[in-house]
């Protein structure tokens, strides 16, 4: 009898510890992304998004994979089609979660990618949109370290363009750094990335 109890407890315990297909899938997708299999990672995030329904996170990451990939891509056609795909993923994400600061930050990054890709075509039209998205995100979630860090980086970029001192935004980076340390994700896979980018953005303060 005792063995059964042990066995049952053991079984239940493993069920609790064993992952749901969602967790397993997400974990696998991050692993693929980590090992530089970007298309496979994006594909898996997209599959999870389609299967999960009502969950914005897989789409959010699928978009992020494509956006980050464009930073190291030279082919104009590929950049445009990845960004288009990323926008579609974010649109999906928005239907499950409206007024979400994280999605707005990602959308700001997407528009930044357009501007970086072709400033003469997209610079004038999309720059105000990037600014608006960061501002909206900060209103919704004033303590979001990603909003603060990337908004500061965006502003540093335009300050440099206008021949001003980008160091004016350095205190914002310090603030973001403190908020990154305070950040405690509540739901699994909730966005918590970006802390490792602080050093890179700080280069502007030297």
């Amino acid at each position: 009898m005792k063995t059964i109890v042990i066995l049952l407890t053991f079984l239940t315990a493993t069920t609790i510890h064993s992952q749901t297909p969602y967790e397993k899938g997400m974990g696998k997708a991050f692993e693929l992304w980590g090992s530089n299999k970007t298309d496979e990672a994006a594909n898996l995030f997209e599959r999870i998004g389609k299967a999960e329904k009502e969950n914005w996170l897989p789409y959010y990451y699928a978009a992020q994979v494509h956006i980050i990939k464009t930073f190291t891509t030279k082919n104009a056609e590929e950049i445009e089609s990845r960004l288009k795909k990323a926008q579609n993923h974010l649109n999906e994400a928005k239907t499950f979660s409206s007024n979400n600061a994280e999605i707005m930050i990602m959308e700001a990054m997407l528009n930044t990618a357009y501007v970086a890709h072709n400033p003469s075509v997209y610079g004038m039209t999309l720059s105000p949109k990037v600014e608006e998205l960061y501002q909206k995100a900060k209103v919704l979630d004033p303590e979001n370290p990603r909003a603060i860090l990337y908004h500061a980086e965006w502003k540093m970029g335009s300050a440099k363009f206008w021949g001003k001192d980008p160091k004016a935004y350095c205190p914002e980076i310090e603030k973001a750094a403190l908020l990154f340390d305070k950040e405690q994700p509540t739901t699994p896979f909730y966005p918590s990335w970006g802390k490792d980018q602080i050093e890179r953005v700080k280069q502007n303060c030297k």
Binding site: A51, K85, V121, Q135
Partner: protein
């Protein structure tokens, strides 16, 4: 106890055993493997990606019937519904998504400007930062091939057609008076503020069956769907003041602007060839309201413009000159709705209305005109697949024109006519592949005033010859009713007709564009009359005809030199026609054989300045010298103009702007006016028709106030 344990074990193993492997290969139509395609069972977590050979394989514990989905960037998504066990060693060929980048474009005859258009030759910014355009959005189009420089007019003269042959549309609806009222030989400007528009299509021929009543060209302007942000703009320029404001709330937005223009300060500084008794003055206001519905967008545009001036026009026959005064009031309203009806049906409906009122004084004669026009349109579009789309629509035009002339020599004369016409159109867009596409359209028009029904076919075809180049062909018939200055005297004429044949070659590669277009345009049923000007007593006929043929070249390069963008246009035009009071076929005065435009913009980072230069050249224009026997037998000297502009960005939101036209002061002659009677030596004297002044300049300060401080008015200059 033991049996219970084995039962559990059995349960666990049995779950892991019932796995099925799904496998196959994904290729393009050509057989080239597709790497990285996404394959999955719809609604499950099970799936995989293709490897370097296009192979995929994954296992699933699902059973029974399921849908397997295969998707990849720029290909159409493939799906297969069958039992899991049948999904083995599949060979799937994906179809290219014809809507993706790199597809062939149906572009014969058309120049697009906008950020999303694949065939874009101008960016939105170009329209307004082109030197010499002086804030007039029409100015940038005059640097494109296919247009002739007719600097004393300011409107668009396309491929041997006169300015009346080009129509302007806003959000698909006709603009009846797109240009400000002006006098002979004084250039006009577009009525609309450039910053209300996001994209433009300028067609120099062969355009869609959706548009009619234009023999040569249509200019399609689209207003912004959703403004980026709330802001207030101020402009202080040497010839006027402007203010604009944009508000956004919930699903609504409203943009308003007002502008006051007075050329007096300019006319005081730069000496004028005409004597202005009352300087050119205009006051205009515009408003756009937008409302976003769940499945659609409503836009309402309203513009009101008041223009007033008086001058003494030189005339060789009247030594003291002609006293000419004009007051114009123009109201334009435009409302459109576009929305999704579900099942891939799209609906666009709209209406526009214009009231144009003129009070004109020519010496002792007073002319009052009142022109009311309306346009109602409905269009349905069905997307059967990415490869086949069908649209159909209906249009009704209503026009009512009244004129009242009073002169000391005769009593009041009144004329009035109603010009109503109805049109239906349908058009199919067919993509045979990513490389070959076709557009087939037909338009039927019935003009109630002239009692004519006409059917006009339109066809265009495009084929992609390589990843960077394509060729296209277009053919179309176009009909247009005679102009109001003729219709007011005679309403028994035919509709004027033109036929376009176009061959286009386009090369686009890494920031460089080459576009070459050869065309032939035939004219038929043009209006003729037998007096100097159309008059009540003239004899009218529809016996005029003509042709225009030529070659348009466009080259743009944004890459070769850092921070420099430039484009070059060349147009060769050979045209002759007999129309109006022409005794024989001849090249009209507005058409020049060779037109060249060079436009350059250089961003100087250290100066925070955008410096632009435009050079325009046009070969001589024909004129009639009554001292010889030849009608339109002589040519003026060539036209030259070098224009410069400089936008200096004081800060992100404050811009100082300077623009000067004809920097070199070239003495340009457009035409000659000869005396009606010869002098004592038997020679007809003449007077050169020149610009009112050789140079035009603007100094301005533009200031934008917005919450987010990144926007400025560079896109309105």
């Amino acid at each position: 106890m033991k049996s219970l344990l084995s039962f559990f074990l059995l349960l666990i193993t049995s779950i892991s055993v019932s796995q099925t492997t799904i496998s196959g290969t994904v290729t393009e139509r050509s057989g080239t493997p597709i790497i990285g395609a996404n394959i999955y069972l719809d609604g499950t977590y099970d799936g995989g990606s293709t490897d370097d050979q296009g192979n995929f394989s994954f296992t699933t514990s699902e059973t029974g019937e399921h849908t397997l989905v295969i998707s990849f960037l720029s290909f159409e998504t493939y799906s297969l519904t069958t039992t899991i066990t049948a999904m083995k060693n599949l060979e799937v060929r994906l179809k290219e998504d014809v809507n993706s980048l790199g597809s062939v474009i149906l572009n014969a005859g058309t120049f697009s400007a906008g950020d999303n258009s694949k065939a874009s030759v101008l960016t939105p910014l170009d329209i307004v930062t082109t030197a010499g355009a002086a804030g007039d959005y029409i100015g940038a189009f005059q640097t494109l091939p296919g247009t002739s420089t007719v600097a004393e007019d300011g409107r668009l003269f396309v491929r041997g057609g006169d300015a009346n042959e080009a129509n302007v549309y806003i959000d698909g609806l006709r603009v009846f008076q797109p240009f400000t009222a002006t006098a002979n030989n004084i250039p006009t400007r577009g009525r609309f503020s450039p910053f209300l528009f996001k994209g433009t299509n300028f067609s120099t021929g062969g355009y869609s069956a959706e548009y009619g009543d234009a023999l040569s060209s249509v200019l399609l302007l689209n207003t912004i769907d959703e403004p980026n942000q709330e802001k207030t703009d101020f402009s202080f320029i040497s010839v006027g003041l402007g203010v604009g404001n944009t508000q956004k709330w919930k699903n609504n937005s409203l943009s308003i602007n007002a502008f006051y223009l007075n050329l007096k300060p300019y006319q005081e500084i730069i000496s004028q060839r005409v004597e202005w008794s009352k300087p050119f003055e205009s006051l205009s206001g515009e408003a756009v309201y937008r409302h976003q519905f769940k499945n659609g967008l409503l836009k309402v545009y309203g513009g009101l413009n008041y223009t007033d001036f008086q001058l003494i026009q030189e005339d060789i026959n009247i030594p003291e000159g002609i006293n000419f005064g004009l007051t114009n009031r123009n109201l334009y309203l435009n409302a459109s709705y576009k929305g999704e009806l579900g099942n891939d049906w799209k609906l666009t409906v709209g209406a526009s209305f214009a009231n144009d009122h003129n009070d004109i004084q020519i010496t002792e004669t007073k002319v009052g005109t009142d022109d009311n026009n309306a346009h109602v349109k409905g269009k349905l579009r069905k997307r059967f697949s990415n490869r086949f789309k069908l649209s159909m629509g209906f249009e009704q035009f209503l026009g009512n024109f009244t004129e009242e002339v009073t002169a000391p020599s005769f009593d009041k004369v009144e004329s009035n006519y109603q010009n109503n016409s109805t049109a239906v159109f349908t058009e199919a867009n067919i993509f045979f592949s990513k490389k070959l596409a076709m557009q087939l359209g037909v338009r039927g028009t019935n003009n109630a005033l002239l009692e004519y029904t006409r059917i006009a076919p339109r066809v265009s075809l495009a084929y992609k010859t390589s990843s960077t180049s394509q060729i296209s062909l277009a053919y179309g018939d176009f009909y247009q009713a005679p102009q109001q200055n003729i219709l007011k005297f005679n309403t028994s004429l035919d509709l004027e007709k033109s036929s376009h044949y176009i061959f286009n070659y386009l090369y686009q590669n890494n920031g460089r564009t080459l576009r070459a277009e050869a065309y032939y345009k035939g004219y038929d049923r043009l209006v003729k009359f037998d007096t100097e000007r159309p008059e009540f007593s003239s004899n009218y006929s529809s016996n005029g005809n003509g042709y225009a043929t030529g070659l348009d070249l466009y080259w743009r390069d944004n890459k070769s030199i850092k921070n420099l963008e430039y484009w070059a246009s060349y147009s060769y035009l050979n045209t002759e026609r007999t129309y109006r009071n022409y005794p024989e076929r001849a090249t009209p005065n507005f058409a020049s054989d060779h037109n060249v435009s060079l436009v350059g913009k250089h961003w100087v980072k250290d100066w925070k300045s955008l410096i632009g230069a435009t050079y325009n050249f046009a070969s001589g224009r024909s004129y009639t010298n009554p001292n010889t026997r030849n009608f339109l037998g002589e040519k003026t000297k060539a036209f030259n103009s070098l224009n410069l502009n400089w936008a200096y960005l004081l800060s992100q939101q404050k811009i100082v702007y300077f623009s000067l036209s004809n920097v070199l002061g070239s003495d340009n002659i457009f035409n000659y006016q000869y005396a009606n009677t010869p002098n004592s030596n038997g020679v007809f004297n003449r007077r050169a028709i020149r610009p009112t002044a050789d140079r035009f300049f603007i100094i301005g300060f533009f200031w934008t106030i917005s919450d987010n401080k990144t926007d400025n008015q560079l896109d309105t200059l």
